[in-house]
């Protein structure tokens, strides 16, 4: 791969809580090339959202802290960047769409004004020009009657429509990378497909890269080119979509793939396959060795003692498992 757009190296984002230090992201590496769609998959609490927020430095500090690693954006490390410099990256180069469309828009401003805000800051547009651009963006994300809707408040939109507004807001400054943090999780199933379709369409139109955070393997298969699987603050497997679905190496990935609901499978089979037994380990004092060992059907003695490193098991395919 040529020089990646975003290169996260050994990132450690920790949180100091009353109960102790939570290593939410503990040595995570991944990279995204220009125009690529990378899916980051894992259960809730695995650190994928923290990783995504770390990139835009949207972690509250304290209690959060960067305990190590680099976030290279086009070769430049974002971690030591002062706030004013960071603000020039936000929205203009890296933008983000969040999980909860119902709460991600400020209820007291019309949506047009919220879209226009970043345009006015970053592109120095006048109020009028920014609002016109907001109308154009709303039209682009297929909101009907955008000239009128631009003056409406968030509570006048449905959940799916608000997520469209959020996408318009994120894309207003034509970023090179869009981080979509579970953009469809909070939506109805029928709306989910529409929003994913819209994301793919926007990606083609603007040629940006997408970092898609999700816990649904089904979504990954439809949209991404490469996949990073995270478990308990670590990357456990990384591969192209085809490779991952054809030859999953890590038992956790295998479990995730088996948990995809299938229309052809009978209900009884599906239920049995759906779940991975056990729960995510306590990140306050994670177990020694492989963090998945307690839930793994193949675990052997060494798994509980030595943490398996992420190693290349096939060209472009990495996994952190001794098997």
């Amino acid at each position: 791969m040529a020089d990646p757009l975003l290169d996260i190296r050994d990132l450690k984002t920790w949180f100091r809580t009353e109960d102790g230090l939570v290593r939410a992201v503990d040595g995570v590496s991944m990279s995204i090339g220009a125009g690529e769609t990378l899916a980051v998959v894992g259960e809730s609490g695995c650190g994928k959202t923290v990783t995504a927020r770390s990139v835009l430095k949207l972690i509250d500090m304290p209690p959060g802290q960067f305990a190590g690693g680099q976030i290279l954006w086009r070769g430049r490390d974002l971690i030591p960047l002062p706030p004013a410099e960071m603000d020039k990256i936000r929205a203009r180069e890296i933008a983000m769409v969040f999980q909860e469309p119902m709460t991600s828009l400020n209820p007291v401003y019309p949506v047009g004004q919220q879209i226009a805000e970043s345009l006015r800051t970053h592109e120095g547009l006048s109020r009028k020009a920014a609002l016109d651009e907001a109308v154009a963006m709303l039209r682009l994300v297929q909101i009907s009657n955008p000239e009128r809707r631009v003056h409406d408040y968030p509570h006048q939109f449905s959940g799916g429509m608000r997520q469209r507004v959020m996408i318009a807001l994120a894309l207003a400054c034509k970023p090179k990378l869009l981080i979509a943090d579970e953009p469809t999780t909070a939506l109805d199933v029928t709306i989910q497909a529409q929003i994913l379709e819209l994301l793919v369409e926007m990606k083609e139109r603007f040629g940006m890269a997408i970092m898609l955070i999700t816990h649904a393997m089904g979504v990954v298969a439809e949209t991404a080119q490469r996949v990073v699987v995270m478990y308990a603050g670590k990357v456990v497997e990384e591969a192209t979509v085809e490779d991952l679905f054809a030859h999953p190496r890590h038992p956790y990935t295998q479990g995730l793939i088996r948990s995809i609901p299938r229309v052809d499978a009978s209900a009884t089979v599906r239920r049995r396959l759906e779940q991975i037994p056990g729960t995510v380990p306590n990140l306050l004092n994670p177990p020694e060795g492989c963090r998945f060992a307690a839930r793994c059907g193949f675990a052997v003695e060494t798994c509980r003692k030595v943490e398996p490193p992420l190693r290349e098991v096939a060209p472009g395919h990495k996994a952190a498992c001794v098997l």
Binding site: D87, M96, P107, V108, L169
Partner: protein
């Protein structure tokens, strides 16, 4: 904001005015030794007035008729007259109301001007040194009773330093700037006492409201837009955090009136608060009734203003 919304708010205010008047009347009706009767038997009252009063209050009518009649009389501003100063109660109150409103208004402005910046800064860096100091001072502020703060200020600025007059007077000689300056000088201490007390509790409300808002999703969205922390704080956090504070300011109004009565009494400010106290010390029942009624109406009025402000600040309410 629609006219509909305003109208609806006005209609909501009527039951509370009705309720407050009912409470007042019940208190009066339960009081031993009919206060109206006292009026009727007071030797200072001329006989023809006494007869007129007896007819007007209809002391032997059923209680609900008395209530209705009393309420209508109060609403028409027909509050009887003071038998100490021999002036109609409504004239007396109207003379003094502007002073009270000016002191309360100025102190509220002062309180808000202290509370918003301090509360926001404290919440922006929770548990920082500034937050801890602000919090401690807030506790001191609302633990100091207004009458003690007033005495302390008089002690320091009037007795020790001799900078400010400790008695408020409406009879300042001169005109133009010197007159205005004197007026401001004598207002400083009453306004400060009331403003600091109110500001101290507001600081905590503002701080907690900001802390609530600052962790909401749309603030993260605003941060992700790269508009700068200052704009995020002012346009997205403070703007939204002030919505509940408006209601809290209105809820505090009854306490503020209490503080105003005390402050007026200490500094001899000729407002309706000191009027109430002197009327009580002189057993001037019609004045006591009138002032209490005016305070009740003011509470309802401020609640109404807060409601309208709330609707103006929060589009979700006004458009519903």
């Amino acid at each position: 904001m629609s006219r509909d919304f305003l109208l609806r708010r006005l209609l909501i205010a009527i039951p509370s005015l009705f309720g407050i008047s009912l409470v007042l009347f019940v208190v009066l009706a339960l009081a031993p030794g009919d206060p109206f009767g006292e009026l009727v038997t007071n030797p200072n009252v001329p006989p023809e007035v006494r007869l007129a009063l007896r007819a007007k209050f209809g002391l032997d009518d059923p209680i609900w008729i008395r209530y209705v009649r009393w309420l209508f009389a109060m609403l028409q501003g027909d509050w009887g007259f003071s038998f100490v100063s021999r002036v109609n109660v409504d004239t007396l109150i109207l003379q003094r109301l502007p002073t009270t409103m000016a002191v309360i208004g100025a102190s509220q402005v002062l309180a808000i001007m202290i509370a918003i910046p301090v509360g926001v800064l404290a919440a922006a860096k929770p548990y920082s040194l500034f937050d801890q100091i602000a919090n401690t001072f807030a506790f001191i502020g609302f633990s100091l009773p207004t009458f003690f703060t007033g005495l302390l200020l008089i002690l320091v600025f009037s007795v020790q330093l001799n900078w400010l007059p400790f008695v408020f007077t409406t009879e300042i000689r001169g005109s133009g700037w010197p007159w205005l300056w004197e007026y401001v000088r004598q207002s400083i201490m009453p306004v400060t006492v009331l403003g600091l007390f109110q500001g101290a509790s507001l600081v905590r409300y503002v701080r907690s409201s900001v802390l609530e808002v600052i962790k909401l999703d749309y603030v993260t969205t605003a941060r992700s837009k790269g508009i700068g922390e200052r704009k995020v704080l002012v346009l997205h956090v403070v703007r939204n955090a002030l919505i509940p504070v408006v209601t809290l300011v209105a809820l505090q109004m009854p306490i503020v009136f209490g503080g105003a009565i005390v402050t007026e009494q200490i500094f001899r400010v000729p407002g309706i608060g000191s009027l109430l106290i002197s009327a009580m010390l002189a057993n001037d029942t019609p004045v006591i009734m009138g002032v209490t009624f005016v305070f009740s109406c003011l509470v309802v009025l401020f609640n109404l203003i807060a409601d309208v402000l709330y609707g103006w600040l929060d589009p979700r309410i006004a458009l519903r």
